[in-house]
Amino acid sequence: MLLNIKNLTVAIEGKEIIKGLNLQVNKGEVHAIMGPNGTGKSTLAAAITGREGYEVTEGEIWYKDQNIIEMDADERANLGIFLSFQYPVEIPGVSMTNFMRTAINAQREYRGLPPMPAGEFLKLMEEKKKLVDIHSKLTNRSVNEGFSGGEKKKNEIFQMALLEPTLAILDETDSGLDIDALRTVAKGVNELRSEENAFVVITHYQRLLEYIVPDFVHVMYDGKIVKSGSKNLALELEEKGYEWLKEHSLA
């Protein structure tokens, strides 16, 4: 098993947001997590990736046979966990090229590899740019600076393609995307899918799931997974609305 979350409780500033959550992800699988706003989906992503201030008060997060809850965020990233941010930040003055080169070489160093030669790196950039259909004028800019909402999301997938993570969490990568951009993002994910990696796709709408077909769909409500099923669950949820869930979770 790649990711095994057991009875996880997460608090922000003492307030419990995730309330006893279980999730199991195997290599080769795509899991979708759906649920209304404010339910704790991004909080879950932050807890898995080790963001400070998100306190695990109970439970365990197992990744590749180790409990990672004490591990720093950068080490988790170096172990192959990637987050496509719901709100990517801007880093003025730091070019995308410099940023990604620093990231790739940090990850290589962690694995005991020498820095990637400049030529090889540039070739890799070109290749992945094509994959996500991202323009050079964006990659020559500072990280996310002056990017539109859609471009920021594409840029997240571009970074994912460069880093080739084992576990990728996509936090509402589809929101704010037009249909073409959505297709491009989905294409990027589908081309990276393999028997060796897994995806957790957080989304509001089942629309994305027409393009990235999940093996499992989980519905989150008030800090817990209240229902799991096949991809049909997404359709059912969209049809009946989140009100239907409320009844479910109270039941």
Partner: protein, 483 residues
């Protein structure tokens, strides 16, 4: 959350050490400790100076004795005992200037350690270097190449001997010894420095560079640099400096004068990395420097670019006097302070000529318990019609125990000129740090990356040879500081 998080990061990230803190055991010729007229006569005699030079020194000394140390800067330090300083130290084995083989091998090794190549074989770098250790210039490279273009690039002492008419004509015309306390002191006791003369219509084919090193204990360093660019001349000049780690404070009081005639351009870049003191604020160099450029000719241009990472105290305002019509002054600065460092730095742009323009970009970065002040004056005189200034002063705070201050003074005396001033203060956001961490970049590297991005506008102004060194320095200076 973010305050808590920032503090944690502050505690977590550990020690950054000064990488240039070694000391080289070189036999020295020292002046007796303290400062009297005899000291000045001693220095002048050691340097075999002509009478007029000694007279200049003595006048400056007598003036200095009437002055009080300035206290207006946003700086705090115990009183400096000017009688407890050695004002002159020179390596005993007097190196020959025409052959590298005759330079003390210990000295060469010192410069090797600093990554400064004095070896003329290594022409690839294309940089001519004047190396000044303690009080004496030990080696100037590429002199022959430069001489072919009529460019004079030598130590100040040599210039006094070989080009007295030029030195007499220009020395003290931009920074007179009456200018301020430290300028008077420097004029009395200055030991060496660099002299550079670009004749009419010549663009220097090489970057010129001076490398200063304080080595001996209890000595002050008082160097003096004079750059003259005649009509249509161009030169890009770089200055670097380091010092050993010592517990006591060392005094550095320098003067740099630049003169640009019609259509001449001088770019002066500094990477200042004197020893900043230890984490408790013990030791470090007191850096009191007067740098000023005179845009004497029409359409002349002087630009100062500085990266200030060292010194326990920095007091420094590289300035431009825009005398020629349509002349241009620029000041680009990154000043980083960490631990207990204090910096009070900025510029003065004095507009005298018509249509003169000046640009000021200042990036202050403070960490630890340091204090970082920008102090600037933009003065537009009545005759400077249609002049323009744009100033931008940004401060970045790392942690919550450091201080950033901005003191912009604006004095406009005509109606047709425009002065714009923008200022911002920001912190490294926890969001940015996490974003980097999530890509596998550790917090220390992330801070280096973000800070270099923040300072990019200024770093881009540095010559290539310096830019890489400066970027590394920024990261190193902030190691172990941050949140």
């Amino acid at each position: 959350m973010s305050d808590q998080t920032n503090n944690n990061i502050l505690d977590e990230v550990t020690k950054g050490e000064y990488k240039f803190g070694f000391y080289t055991d070189i036999e020295n010729d020292l002046a007796p400790r303290g400062l009297t007229e005899d000291t000045i006569r001693f220095i002048s005699a050691k340097k075999e100076e002509p009478e007029w030079m000694l007279e200049f020194r003595l006048k400056a000394f007598r003036h200095w004795q009437t002055l009080e140390e300035p206290e207006w800067a946003h700086l705090h330090h115990p009183p400096i005992d000017f009688q407890d300083i050695i004002y002159f130290a020179s390596p005993k084995k007097k190196p020959q200037l025409n052959s590298l083989d005759e330079v003390d091998p210990e000295l060469l090794e010192t410069f090797d350690k600093l990554g400064i190549s004095l070896d003329e074989q290594k022409r690839l770098s294309g940089v001519a270097v004047d190396a000044v250790i303690d009080s004496v210039s030990v080696k100037t490279t590429f002199q022959d190449t430069l001489a072919k273009h009529g460019i004079i690039f030598c130590s100040f002492s040599e210039a006094v001997k070989n080009h007295p008419e030029l030195v007499k004509k220009y020395m003290g015309t931009v920074v007179p010894y009456t200018d301020n306390y430290y300028a008077a002191l420097n004029s009395a006791v200055f030991s060496d420095g660099s002299f550079c003369y670009i004749p009419k219509g010549v663009r220097s084919p090489l970057e010129l560079s001076t490398y200063f090193r304080i080595n001996a204990a209890n000595t002050g360093q008082f160097e003096r640099t004079l750059i003259v660019a005649e009509e249509g001349g161009y030169v890009s000049y770089m200055e670097g400096c380091t010092a050993p780690m010592r517990d006591e404070n060392q005094l550095h009081a320098a003067i740099v004068e630049i003169i640009a005639m019609d259509d001449a351009e001088v770019k002066y870049s500094t990477v200042q990395n004197w020893y900043p003191g230890d984490k408790q604020g013990k030791g470090g160099v007191y850096n009191f420097v007067t740098k000023r450029g005179l845009c004497k000719g029409n359409r002349s241009k002087i630009s100062w670019t500085q990266v200030e990472t060292g010194s326990s105290i920095t007091w420094k305002y590289p300035s431009c006097v825009l005398m020629g019509d349509n002349s241009i002054g620029e000041f680009y600065s990154v000043a980083v302070t960490n631990n207990y460092q204090q910096a009070d730095t900025g510029t003065k742009m004095i507009h005298l000529g018509k249509n003169t323009r000046s640009t000021i970009i200042s990036k202050g970065i403070s960490a630890g318990r340091s204090n970082n002040s920008y102090r600037g004056l933009v003065k537009i005189m009545p005759g400077a019609v249609n002049s323009r200034n744009f100033s931008q002063c940004d401060s970045l705070l790392l942690g919550d125990q450091c201080g950033a201050h901005t003191f912009p003074y604006i004095d406009t005396r005509n109606q047709s000129s425009i002065v714009e001033h923008e200022a911002t203060t920001s912190k490294i956001s926890e969001d940015q740090l996490f974003y980097c961490n999530q890509r596998g970049i550790d917090t220390e590297k992330a801070i280096g990356l973000i800070v270099n991005g923040y300072a990019k506008e200024v770093l881009n102004k540095l010559p290539m040879e310096f830019a890489v060194e400066a970027q590394k320095l920024l990261s190193i200076t902030l190691e172990g500081s941050v949140g």
